[in-house]
Symmetry: C2
Subunit: 507 residues, 2 copies
Amino acid sequence: MALTGQHFIAGLWTGVPAEDFQAWDPRADAPLPTYFADGSEAEVAVAASAAADAFVAYRRLSNAQRAEFLEAIADEIEALGEALLIRAEQETALPAARLQGERGRTCGQLRAFAGWLREPLHPVLKDAALPDRQPLPRPDLRLGQVPLGPVAVFGASNFPLAFSVAGGDTASALAAGCPVIVKGHPAHPGTSELVASAIARAIARCDLPDGVFSLIQGRSPALSVALVQHPAIAAVGFTGSGAVGQALAREAGNRPQPIPFYGELGAVNPQVILPGLLARQPETLAQLQVGSMMMGQGQFCTSPGLVLLPDSDGADRYLATLTEALADQAEGVMLTPGIARAYRSGADQLASQPGVSLLARGSNGGHANGAVPLIYQVSAADAQNNPALFEEVFGPCVLVITGAQGEPLNQLVASMPGQLTCTVHGDESEFGHHADLLDALAYTAGRLIANQMPTGVEVCASQNHGGPWPASTAPQTTSVGAEAIQRFLRPLAYQNWPLSQLPENLV
Amino acid sequence: MALTGQHFIAGLWTGVPAEDFQAWDPRADAPLPTYFADGSEAEVAVAASAAADAFVAYRRLSNAQRAEFLEAIADEIEALGEALLIRAEQETALPAARLQGERGRTCGQLRAFAGWLREPLHPVLKDAALPDRQPLPRPDLRLGQVPLGPVAVFGASNFPLAFSVAGGDTASALAAGCPVIVKGHPAHPGTSELVASAIARAIARCDLPDGVFSLIQGRSPALSVALVQHPAIAAVGFTGSGAVGQALAREAGNRPQPIPFYGELGAVNPQVILPGLLARQPETLAQLQVGSMMMGQGQFCTSPGLVLLPDSDGADRYLATLTEALADQAEGVMLTPGIARAYRSGADQLASQPGVSLLARGSNGGHANGAVPLIYQVSAADAQNNPALFEEVFGPCVLVITGAQGEPLNQLVASMPGQLTCTVHGDESEFGHHADLLDALAYTAGRLIANQMPTGVEVCASQNHGGPWPASTAPQTTSVGAEAIQRFLRPLAYQNWPLSQLPENLV
């Protein structure tokens, strides 16, 4: 399957590959052969204008027609076969088995949105006319929803399939009735092109307007800003780093016509350990922690980067097991050289904080793009009033705060920024004695977990992937699960319309 | 019922009335006796800190307890009796009968939110655990909702009860579990104080924490900005002018921690008239237009300020009836001297646009704060590419665009900014021939109406009061109807919790 290196804009493969933009193989630490086009503002304008045109037709499709389109995309992605997985592995250093699972998840979520379109989960709100009501009659009112318009999607480097070109944001925006323009992540342009080619075939199969989907490849922040600022763009879906997400969110809010920016950013995903369970299962808890932090070399937005450990029976055994288990972990190759560098400087930054000491480390393989697993520790007393300790180090780096119980624990939780997830490990009986703690954690997290690790975000109707700012730039919304569609819809009340003129689902 | 002129902050009447801040009686064009305190940043800080404290207890109340509180507020507002209506009439020049209706609506909406708390309209999404699923088990997930935190509310001058201290934003925020801080509108501080005293009694009756509600009186933009910027404020509800709402929305978005800003702003609420109905009922349509535009002296956010009239049978009779009917309308006194001045300058601005001419006017009473009803007209050709014609003139001023049919009509609709409402007046049979027009209007409006005037926003489950920007700063939300509660909630997924620890509604 030869790559063109081009953009896919409104039905055409277009653009001249740049001389200096190749994908990088992080394991070989060498470029991959194809050269890719580097998008410009002019290409954004063409894609956005085509998306605006396509919106007029696409928004009128029935739910069933949109469901068929999503299913066609899933089918076409599967039809890419091994070529997709091979390319993704080259570009990300993620193992084949993981990518196979991620492909299953990507196609599964496209089909899940198709299912939620066919069988909506929420009732339609209707109020019948009351023509004889005094002092005034009540009109017939029915609450529909309409799509917002063309959506810009920025995928993440760490999920080259599930949070990228045909990932959750694209699936939910298309489900809602919004055309999509993806700015391809420069870390996996070949994977992006292959998935775009699958979407192109699905568009042709379903006979949809060309502008319903475009992929613009590129690297420059200016390209991202141009896409967010284009007047035809009605909303943005973003998964990635806090710094970039927050900067683009401000661009979206400061447009002449502000638009919603749905950014799912990072988090340290605190693990609070209660003394009862700790006394009974210190080794098991430590093993779970190491297993979870090593998933994808810690390159999950839900990676458990912070442990709050009480000074109580089992704490020493927990720390000892953590140390032993981490020593068995080998350095892994990170997604990109830049991420590997950022990991090292982030870990150094953490190590330099007052009171922080190294507890455990994995083995060092000396790879240019490697990341040695690291666990640091600090006392609850030293952790108070130091927000730097809550900053995510993207990769297999964890901070254990010891002495985290009672008032110091409550204060730490109160000072924590918003999180995608918070987990509490404890016996059911001791949950009842920690009502204030659980309440405080609930108001910090987008997902509150008992006795399970946060890695792995189940795609199901009741999922929430988001959380209080800065975990998400739009805490009222989720980027995973059935409610993700809602981000790209707005309410529209229909008053006094004859049945013949109402949308099908309102009749 | 003597007024204190003070703020009500976290259970205490506090603050020293300013020497130059009185309410103004627009009919007498003279100040009303009481002097009012002018809030400071320090008072914002006290109220916000108390709200943050109260949030911890208030958010744990059951839906039933919050419903009782809302009902207690409604009871206490009614218990204020005539004194409330008399004061509101003095401060706004709105007639007693209208204010009586508005009080009914205000109490009705508090009780409606109580009802929606007791019987939620949406099912709870749950996914049961699948422990044996391959390759990975599925955890038990349930999607709850939690309140965002303390909410700042800015009421409007034109609904001193229904969109003010205990108006829709306050009712929906309290229903969601959020404490509220109201910045009292300086046009009706006495009315605000009376309603705050009713809320104070409801708080005492329900034994709630003091910080759950505060009213800060004041006039300065700096006070509003300080409230929006306070770190303890988690969201803002605003009803008012586009300029102020958009400025405060940017303040909310540019905070170190951005927060949602729900601003319901103005609109011109276009009336599109189709030729079939126009030929049959030109006089009726014109009478409806004049009746609706004169409601509350045109001081409704849903006032019909724009008519799109085709050149066809009945157009002349429509215009003749409009002219005659308006001549019978007397100048009315506006809510404030400032609004009366803005009306005159806005109407002058409209009159000065190329091709605009005066079609009709009501009688001039010569009142200092009066507004003479005005209808201007312009041709569709002159209206193309002139966005100034779509700017709201708050008051009884209407622009009729003649020759609005076919392609010129479609172009005008496409160029229109977002609207709270759009109405189409036509026969059912001709709706079918205007599918593109109806579709375009749907994507311009928050409420799409057939053959009814837009004034009067029914409070019922399926209402939407909002619309594409700039009608609303958050088009995905509504400020009226059951879904208004959603603005102040966010999703929280509960994973793998024992039933004993789950919120009641998730079990």
